[in-house]
């Protein structure tokens, strides 16, 4: 990639250290923002850049910031979602490991733009060691005056706190994350009110994904026009694609949004290993409805993926080879959602468990005629009816898998 494109994952020696980050031009964007830009101007620039949320929903980040009521007294919070629980996704950890200062710089800019003085980084429990890098970076940044009570001598202060999750997938859902930070059981809240109005401790709160915030320094440093020149007009920049499964070179690939799925899998990830062909691809984390091998021409951006009834999601691309039985994939999937449903609302709590028990029975060779229709119908009972998006996140991929690989699964039921 040329010097002039976004690079979220640096490869220089000791890239996570402050001196290395400074050599790469680090904290210049934050300095520019805090010392020479008006908060509204920063928000306008990020809106203009069309930066969409990298956590999975793709909500425009600048728009989200603009929802926070201004001129209201009392605290406001920035919550950084580093819970990274979507199966098949391992991008945020790479930022935390290789470039924690970029995240911190993005946080400083976001906080300054919205008028926030306290930020919480919600890190998944399994990343406790990884978060050590973030903690070191925080100390370095504070020592250099890039973080803390008086950033760049401007009088603007930002305190950053790391909060560890305890292993629940649901805490990646923004309102469950807030509950968890507040010390309660992580279950989603009814919306409205939205977090921008009443979030953490009922104060206005911005919640952004790690990768989203890591994009902010380049947007402010180089301008929105530079950013929008990459990727697609409505979905700009690059994305960190986590590629796993039946490919020769699984790993993390930073590529412009909108690249064809086939290019990512074959050109970048080296295609399937010898003697294996691609049967299916889950394009955006486990919750993204599966695509068949004949759908690989689809492009990896939010809108193109919606056109094929899937999701760009968290950009976790799981490649399934022809030797993997789809019943096994369905088993993994249904177990995950049954295990991770928070249990708060009826359809998700019982629907996911019922589906999983049905799949388990089929796998045990006790399938009954009509089981696949039952699974589809149970997923219908979850879809669009739950308190939080996890209901759809469970129902849609299960329905897609059963619908698209019905013949293969039907054979497993009959067996």
């Amino acid at each position: 990639m040329s010097q002039d494109t976004v690079r979220l994952i640096p490869s220089d020696e000791g890239s996570w250290r402050l001196d290395a980050y400074l050599r790469r031009g680090g904290y210049e964007a934050a300095r520019k923002a805090v010392t020479s830009m008006a908060p509204a101007g920063i928000i306008a620039e990020v809106r203009k850049a069309g930066l969409r949320g990298r956590g999975g929903a793709g909500f425009p980040a600048g728009l989200k910031w603009s929802f926070v009521p201004q001129g209201v007294s009392g605290p406001k919070y920035l919550c950084v979602n580093a819970d990274e629980g979507e199966p098949g996704t391992f991008k945020d950890r790479a930022i935390l490991v290789r470039d924690p200062h970029r995240l911190l710089e993005g946080m400083v800019i976001a906080a300054f733009a919205v008028g926030i003085h306290t930020a919480i980084v919600y890190v998944r429990g399994e990343y406790e060691r990884i978060a050590g890098r973030l903690r070191e970076a925080m100390a370095e940044a504070e020592g250099a005056g890039f973080l803390g009570p008086d950033i760049f001598g401007s009088g603007f202060g930002l305190e950053v706190v790391i909060h560890f999750g305890a292993g629940a997938y649901i805490c990646g859902e923004e309102t469950a994350l807030l509950e968890s930070v507040e010390g309660r059981r992580g279950t989603p809240r009814l919306k409205p009110p939205f977090p921008a109005v009443a979030g953490l401790f009922r104060a206005p709160t911005v919640i952004n994904n790690v990768e989203t915030l890591a994009n902010v320094p380049s947007i402010i440093g180089r301008g929105a026009d530079w950013f929008t020149a990459q990727g697609l007009p409505k979905d700009c920049g690059t994305r960190l694609f986590s590629v796993s499964g039946a490919v020769r070179r699984p790993g993390l690939y930073e590529l412009p949004t909108g690249i064809p799925l086939r290019t990512l899998i074959e050109d970048h990830a080296g295609g399937p290993p010898e003697g294996v062909s691609v049967k299916a691809v889950i394009p955006g984390g486990l919750s993204a409805p599966v695509l068949r091998a004949d759908e690989l021409e689809a492009h990896l951006d939010f809108e193109s993926m919606a056109l094929v009834c899937s999701m760009a999601g968290s950009a976790g691309v799981i490649v399934i080879g022809d030797r993997t039985p789809m019943l096994e994939v369905l088993g993994v999937m249904s177990r995950f959602y049954a295990h991770e449903s928070c249990g708060q609302c009826t359809p998700c709590r019982i629907g996911t468990s019922w589906i999983h028990r049905t799949v388990t029975r089929i796998a045990a060779g006790q399938g009954r005629r009509g089981d696949l229709d039952l699974i589809l119908s149970l997923a219908d009972g979850i879809k669009g009816r739950t308190l939080c998006p996890m209901g759809d996140a469970a129902a849609l991929p299960i329905q897609a898998l059963v619908t698209k690989f019905r013949d293969e699964l039907e054979q497993a039921v009959e067996r």
């Binding site: 649901i170 009826t346 468990s353 009816r385």
Partner: protein, 500 residues
């Protein structure tokens, strides 16, 4: 109400107005349209757990929660479309999948929301063929409450009640997904004076009271509203009694006292003292008239009352104020107090009228007041100045009429015995048998407040009229009837007195 803005909307084709800020569920309810729900309770903010109240709103792609969506001008809501009906069936099917279906031995059967909603909105053939999850069915969570986790539908009303109303927070939801369950924290049980409400608000048979478990069936109970007489709050209660079927000699007459609703007094809750009031109604009641503490078989109270009138008549009119003493109490209704005033003050010209009631307790800051009687405001309103009698006042009487057992709370049995020994004619009127009975010439059995109609004025000045919730046992009568008969016997016309 003036000052409250209303909005106009359409629900199922009907024009409905509702106060601004109300939710669709309440607006529909007020228009007589039932939107089934489990987790919503008007005392708490909507939580949207059960997903039973989903409705269609014109212009919105998904079904929306009736419990949490506020009404808006021009909103068009549909609650009975195929899509809504399907969503309800799906929720019921999910809830019933792992449900033990032990309705035949469940104390909630007959008043269970899951049963009722299935009956009205479900009625589908079951598709669940997996093994049902086994969970704890007998968890003693404190205060005589039993939790059955298999029946629980996780509406979390109980959790919210303890967090929002009592502020004690003894219950929480533990675990995740289908393993989620209600429980206490470690080994700290539910322990607050309002715990009984958990049984009332549990929409299914997950929380039941040991006092009621396996005693009767809900459909055998007649539910009659009354006012709790145990403190001056005067909470709305429901007295649930067996009306005859199936056992002519049921184990109890009143199986339980539950919370009634009165927004001006107690909202939706009552305390456990009020619930325990069922014992007051059924227990310790004398079988009939007592003479010196000994049961007199077959003697009607009306005949015995002639002895009281004779004793009063024997005192010459001018001597009456000095020689006739009356002890009343604040469990009398306003109507009875007015009658007492007309009889004893206006009619007989007495001035030795005192009050003896239960000793005060402490107020708990929620509902229970320090005053453990229901109608002391009524006594003031009737023109009495309630004060305790002195021992001398009792001793000096020739005729003594005592209503209620309150004296026992203020004087020792021995002191009363000595005082009353000097009184030639003394009569007791009391609902419960007690140590005083043997000190009196005659003890007449009275009705308890639940067996009376009348009016109480509560601590906040709220006048509450109530009807008799059940009949008194044979031979027991309300004070009002005693007073009327006494007046009749004395040839006094109490006339058309105004209540209180």
């Amino acid at each position: 109400m003036s000052g409250t803005k209303t909005v106009a909307l359409t629900i199922d084709g009907r024009a409905v107005t509702a106060p601004e800020g109300a939710n669709i569920l309440r607006a529909a309810e007020q228009a007589g349209i039932d939107i089934p729900h489990f987790c919503y309770h008007p005392a708490f903010a909507a939580e949207g757990n059960c997903r039973m109240c989903l409705v269609e709103i014109e212009g919105l792609p998904k079904l929306e929660l009736a419990c949490s969506t506020p009404v808006r001008e021009g909103l068009v809501v549909r609650t009975a479309t195929p899509r809504v009906e399907q969503a309800r069936r799906d929720v019921l099917e999910f809830l019933l999948a792992d449900h033990p279906l032990d309705c035949p031995v469940c104390d909630k059967a007959g008043e269970c929301q899951l049963q009722d909603h299935y009956d009205r909105y479900g009625r589908f053939p079951g598709r669940f063929v997996e093994a049902k999850q086994k969970k704890d069915k007998l968890v003693r969570i404190g205060r005589g409450l039993v939790l059955d986790r298999e029946r629980c539908i996780l509406c979390a009303r109980c959790v919210r009640f303890l967090r929002n109303v009592t502020g004690t927070g003894e219950l929480g939801v533990f675990e995740r997904g289908a393993r989620a369950e209600i429980g206490i924290f470690e080994d700290v049980p539910v322990d607050n004076a309002y715990a009984g409400n958990l049984v009332d608000i549990c929409p299914v048979g997950a929380i039941t009271a040991e006092d009621f478990r396996f005693q009767t069936r809900a459909w055998f109970l007649a539910r009659k509203p009354s006012v709790c007489p145990l403190c001056s709050r005067g909470c709305a209660i429901v007295v649930e009694s067996v009306t005859g079927y199936p056992l002519p000699e049921a184990k109890r007459r009143v199986y339980r006292v539950t919370a009634g609703q009165n927004p001006a007094v107690n909202g939706y809750w009552i305390c456990d003292l009020g619930r325990a009031g069922r014992h007051d109604i059924d227990e310790g009641r004398p079988a009939g008239l007592l003479r010196k503490g000994v049961a007199v078989d077959g003697e009607p109270w009306q005949k015995a009352l002639a002895e009281v009138t004779a004793a009063i008549k024997a005192v010459p009119g001018s001597d009456r104020p000095a020689r006739i003493a009356v002890v009343l109490n604040a469990r009398l209704t306003c109507e009875e107090l007015a009658r007492a005033k007309a009889l004893f003050v206006t009619g007989l010209g007495l001035d030795r009228i005192s009050f003896a009631d239960r000793t005060p307790g402490t107020a708990d800051g929620l509902l229970v007041t320090a005053e453990r009687v229901p109608n002391s405001r009524g006594a003031f309103a009737a023109g009495f100045d309630p004060r305790l009698p002195t021992i001398e006042e009792l001793t000096g009487a020739t005729v003594l009429l005592v209503f209620g057992s309150g004296l026992a709370a203020h004087f020792s049995e021995e002191a009363l015995g000595r005082a009353l020994a000097a009184v030639p004619s003394k009569f007791l009127f009391a609902a419960h048998a007690g140590p005083l009975d043997r000190l009196f010439d005659l003890a007449f059995p009275l009705a308890v407040p639940a067996e009376k109609s009348g009016t109480y004025i509560n601590v906040g000045g709220v006048r509450q009229s109530f009807e008799r919730a059940l009949s008194p046992p044979a031979g027991a009568v309300p004070e009002g009837e005693i007073l009327t008969c006494l007046a009749h016997g004395l040839g006094l016309n109490l006339g058309d007195f105004d209540v209180c």
